[in-house]
Symmetry: C2
Subunit: 121 residues, 2 copies
Protein backbone atom coordinates (compact mmCIF):
# COMPACT_ATOMS: atom_id res chain seq x y z
CA UNK A 1 0.00 0.00 0.00
CA UNK A 2 1.24 3.45 -0.97
CA UNK A 3 0.94 6.28 1.51
CA UNK A 4 1.48 10.03 1.28
CA UNK A 5 2.44 11.89 4.44
CA UNK A 6 2.12 15.67 4.30
CA UNK A 7 4.51 17.20 6.83
CA UNK A 8 4.06 20.76 8.12
CA UNK A 9 5.98 22.70 10.76
CA UNK A 10 3.21 23.04 13.30
CA UNK A 11 2.12 26.27 14.97
CA UNK A 12 1.05 27.60 18.35
CA UNK A 13 -1.96 28.94 16.47
CA UNK A 14 -4.64 26.25 16.32
CA UNK A 15 -6.17 27.68 13.16
CA UNK A 16 -2.85 27.28 11.32
CA UNK A 17 -2.69 23.62 12.29
CA UNK A 18 -6.30 23.22 11.26
CA UNK A 19 -5.41 24.61 7.81
CA UNK A 20 -3.03 21.68 7.37
CA UNK A 21 -5.60 19.15 8.58
CA UNK A 22 -8.18 20.65 6.22
CA UNK A 23 -5.72 20.48 3.36
CA UNK A 24 -5.04 16.79 4.06
CA UNK A 25 -8.80 16.19 4.11
CA UNK A 26 -9.09 17.85 0.69
CA UNK A 27 -6.23 15.73 -0.67
CA UNK A 28 -8.09 12.58 0.41
CA UNK A 29 -11.13 13.63 -1.61
CA UNK A 30 -9.15 13.96 -4.84
CA UNK A 31 -8.22 11.28 -7.34
CA UNK A 32 -4.76 10.84 -5.84
CA UNK A 33 -3.34 7.39 -6.55
CA UNK A 34 -2.37 6.74 -2.92
CA UNK A 35 -3.98 4.17 -0.64
CA UNK A 36 -3.50 6.34 2.43
CA UNK A 37 -2.97 10.06 2.97
CA UNK A 38 -2.20 11.59 6.35
CA UNK A 39 -0.64 14.75 7.75
CA UNK A 40 1.78 15.29 10.61
CA UNK A 41 3.75 18.07 12.26
CA UNK A 42 7.38 18.55 13.20
CA UNK A 43 6.82 20.67 16.29
CA UNK A 44 4.37 22.33 18.66
CA UNK A 45 1.35 20.17 17.94
CA UNK A 46 0.18 16.63 17.28
CA UNK A 47 0.17 14.31 15.44
CA UNK A 48 3.96 14.22 15.16
CA UNK A 49 5.73 12.55 12.24
CA UNK A 50 6.96 9.36 13.99
CA UNK A 51 3.51 8.73 15.45
CA UNK A 52 1.86 9.04 12.04
CA UNK A 53 4.49 6.83 10.40
CA UNK A 54 3.72 4.15 13.02
CA UNK A 55 0.04 4.51 12.25
CA UNK A 56 0.57 4.27 8.47
CA UNK A 57 2.74 1.16 8.83
CA UNK A 58 0.17 -0.41 11.14
CA UNK A 59 -2.45 0.29 8.49
CA UNK A 60 -0.40 -1.67 5.97
CA UNK A 61 1.66 1.02 4.21
CA UNK A 62 4.67 -0.47 2.42
CA UNK A 63 5.72 2.67 0.53
CA UNK A 64 5.57 6.02 2.30
CA UNK A 65 6.22 9.30 0.51
CA UNK A 66 7.13 12.13 2.87
CA UNK A 67 6.14 15.49 1.43
CA UNK A 68 7.55 18.55 3.24
CA UNK A 69 4.92 21.29 3.22
CA UNK A 70 7.54 24.03 3.53
CA UNK A 71 8.44 26.89 1.22
CA UNK A 72 12.05 27.35 2.31
CA UNK A 73 14.90 24.93 2.91
CA UNK A 74 15.53 25.94 6.50
CA UNK A 75 17.04 23.66 9.13
CA UNK A 76 13.81 21.70 9.46
CA UNK A 77 13.97 20.71 5.83
CA UNK A 78 17.72 20.18 5.55
CA UNK A 79 18.39 18.53 8.91
CA UNK A 80 15.30 17.48 10.89
CA UNK A 81 13.48 15.76 8.07
CA UNK A 82 16.46 13.67 6.87
CA UNK A 83 16.96 12.59 10.50
CA UNK A 84 13.32 11.55 10.79
CA UNK A 85 13.73 9.65 7.53
CA UNK A 86 16.79 7.79 8.85
CA UNK A 87 14.96 6.90 12.06
CA UNK A 88 11.97 5.60 10.12
CA UNK A 89 14.17 3.49 7.82
CA UNK A 90 15.92 1.99 10.84
CA UNK A 91 12.66 1.26 12.62
CA UNK A 92 10.91 -0.14 9.55
CA UNK A 93 13.54 -1.72 7.29
CA UNK A 94 10.88 -3.47 5.21
CA UNK A 95 9.06 -0.25 4.37
CA UNK A 96 10.20 1.94 1.49
CA UNK A 97 10.44 5.62 2.40
CA UNK A 98 10.93 8.52 0.05
CA UNK A 99 11.52 12.09 1.18
CA UNK A 100 10.51 14.61 -1.47
CA UNK A 101 12.05 18.05 -1.82
CA UNK A 102 10.13 20.79 -0.03
CA UNK A 103 7.18 22.28 -1.86
CA UNK A 104 8.94 25.60 -2.41
CA UNK A 105 11.52 23.83 -4.58
CA UNK A 106 8.90 22.34 -6.90
CA UNK A 107 9.78 23.16 -10.51
CA UNK A 108 6.13 24.06 -11.03
CA UNK A 109 6.15 26.76 -8.31
CA UNK A 110 6.60 29.72 -10.71
CA UNK A 111 3.63 28.54 -12.76
CA UNK A 112 1.55 27.95 -9.63
CA UNK A 113 2.26 31.45 -8.33
CA UNK A 114 1.54 33.15 -11.62
CA UNK A 115 -1.64 31.13 -12.15
CA UNK A 116 -2.83 32.14 -8.70
CA UNK A 117 -1.79 35.79 -9.03
CA UNK A 118 -3.17 36.26 -12.54
CA UNK A 119 -6.43 34.70 -11.45
CA UNK A 120 -6.84 37.13 -8.54
CA UNK A 121 -4.96 40.29 -9.56
CA UNK B 1 1.57 49.59 -15.10
CA UNK B 2 0.71 46.40 -13.24
CA UNK B 3 3.17 45.03 -10.71
CA UNK B 4 3.36 41.77 -8.76
CA UNK B 5 5.17 41.82 -5.42
CA UNK B 6 6.04 38.41 -3.99
CA UNK B 7 6.35 38.73 -0.20
CA UNK B 8 8.22 36.14 1.88
CA UNK B 9 9.01 36.07 5.58
CA UNK B 10 12.78 36.36 5.33
CA UNK B 11 15.32 34.13 7.06
CA UNK B 12 18.63 34.30 8.89
CA UNK B 13 19.77 31.69 6.40
CA UNK B 14 21.04 33.43 3.27
CA UNK B 15 20.27 30.44 1.07
CA UNK B 16 16.58 30.59 2.05
CA UNK B 17 16.41 34.24 1.04
CA UNK B 18 18.20 33.42 -2.17
CA UNK B 19 15.52 30.80 -2.93
CA UNK B 20 12.96 33.61 -2.94
CA UNK B 21 15.11 35.86 -5.11
CA UNK B 22 15.65 32.96 -7.53
CA UNK B 23 11.94 32.28 -7.61
CA UNK B 24 11.20 35.93 -8.44
CA UNK B 25 13.79 35.74 -11.22
CA UNK B 26 12.01 32.66 -12.63
CA UNK B 27 8.66 34.44 -12.48
CA UNK B 28 10.08 37.29 -14.54
CA UNK B 29 11.11 34.86 -17.27
CA UNK B 30 7.58 33.48 -17.67
CA UNK B 31 4.69 34.84 -19.69
CA UNK B 32 3.15 36.59 -16.72
CA UNK B 33 1.00 39.53 -17.76
CA UNK B 34 2.61 41.95 -15.29
CA UNK B 35 4.80 44.90 -16.24
CA UNK B 36 6.95 44.53 -13.15
CA UNK B 37 7.67 41.66 -10.77
CA UNK B 38 9.70 42.04 -7.58
CA UNK B 39 10.16 40.25 -4.28
CA UNK B 40 10.47 41.58 -0.74
CA UNK B 41 10.72 40.30 2.82
CA UNK B 42 8.86 41.04 6.03
CA UNK B 43 11.77 40.51 8.41
CA UNK B 44 15.42 39.67 8.91
CA UNK B 45 16.67 40.61 5.47
CA UNK B 46 16.36 43.15 2.67
CA UNK B 47 14.67 44.31 0.53
CA UNK B 48 11.77 45.00 2.87
CA UNK B 49 8.21 45.48 1.61
CA UNK B 50 7.89 49.29 1.98
CA UNK B 51 11.21 49.81 0.20
CA UNK B 52 10.14 47.65 -2.73
CA UNK B 53 6.74 49.34 -2.92
CA UNK B 54 8.54 52.72 -3.17
CA UNK B 55 10.68 51.31 -5.91
CA UNK B 56 7.72 49.90 -7.87
CA UNK B 57 5.81 53.18 -7.63
CA UNK B 58 8.90 55.10 -8.74
CA UNK B 59 9.11 52.75 -11.71
CA UNK B 60 5.56 53.70 -12.68
CA UNK B 61 3.44 50.97 -11.08
CA UNK B 62 -0.20 52.05 -10.78
CA UNK B 63 -1.61 48.65 -9.73
CA UNK B 64 0.36 46.54 -7.26
CA UNK B 65 -0.69 43.00 -6.35
CA UNK B 66 0.82 41.82 -3.06
CA UNK B 67 1.21 38.05 -3.03
CA UNK B 68 2.03 36.49 0.39
CA UNK B 69 4.42 33.60 -0.14
CA UNK B 70 3.29 31.88 3.06
CA UNK B 71 1.66 28.51 3.64
CA UNK B 72 -0.09 29.32 6.91
CA UNK B 73 -2.18 32.26 8.07
CA UNK B 74 -0.01 33.15 11.05
CA UNK B 75 0.24 36.63 12.54
CA UNK B 76 2.37 37.85 9.65
CA UNK B 77 -0.39 37.07 7.21
CA UNK B 78 -3.34 38.14 9.33
CA UNK B 79 -1.88 41.26 10.97
CA UNK B 80 1.46 42.46 9.55
CA UNK B 81 0.51 42.31 5.90
CA UNK B 82 -2.83 44.14 6.25
CA UNK B 83 -0.94 46.85 8.19
CA UNK B 84 1.63 47.17 5.43
CA UNK B 85 -1.23 47.40 2.94
CA UNK B 86 -2.88 50.22 4.91
CA UNK B 87 0.42 52.10 5.13
CA UNK B 88 0.98 51.75 1.41
CA UNK B 89 -2.54 52.97 0.58
CA UNK B 90 -2.04 56.00 2.82
CA UNK B 91 1.33 56.80 1.30
CA UNK B 92 0.24 56.27 -2.29
CA UNK B 93 -3.47 57.10 -2.56
CA UNK B 94 -3.31 57.14 -6.35
CA UNK B 95 -1.97 53.61 -6.59
CA UNK B 96 -4.30 50.61 -6.49
CA UNK B 97 -3.13 47.88 -4.10
CA UNK B 98 -4.51 44.38 -3.79
CA UNK B 99 -3.46 41.94 -1.10
CA UNK B 100 -4.03 38.32 -2.16
CA UNK B 101 -4.69 35.48 0.28
CA UNK B 102 -1.57 33.56 1.28
CA UNK B 103 -0.43 30.86 -1.11
CA UNK B 104 -1.40 28.06 1.28
CA UNK B 105 -5.04 29.11 0.96
CA UNK B 106 -5.03 28.82 -2.83
CA UNK B 107 -7.92 26.63 -3.96
CA UNK B 108 -5.51 24.88 -6.30
CA UNK B 109 -3.16 23.81 -3.47
CA UNK B 110 -4.51 20.21 -3.20
CA UNK B 111 -4.00 19.71 -6.94
CA UNK B 112 -0.53 21.24 -6.80
CA UNK B 113 0.52 18.96 -3.96
CA UNK B 114 -0.86 15.84 -5.57
CA UNK B 115 0.64 16.73 -8.93
CA UNK B 116 4.03 17.20 -7.29
CA UNK B 117 3.77 14.09 -5.10
CA UNK B 118 2.49 11.79 -7.84
CA UNK B 119 5.24 13.01 -10.12
CA UNK B 120 7.96 12.18 -7.61
CA UNK B 121 6.56 9.32 -5.47
Amino acid sequence: MKALLLIAHGSRKASSNQEVADLAAKLKQKDHGFDLIEHAFLELTDPKVPHTIDSLVNSGASHITLMPYFLAAGMHVTEDLPELLDDAKTQYPNVSFKLLTHLGAAQQMPEWILGFAQDKA
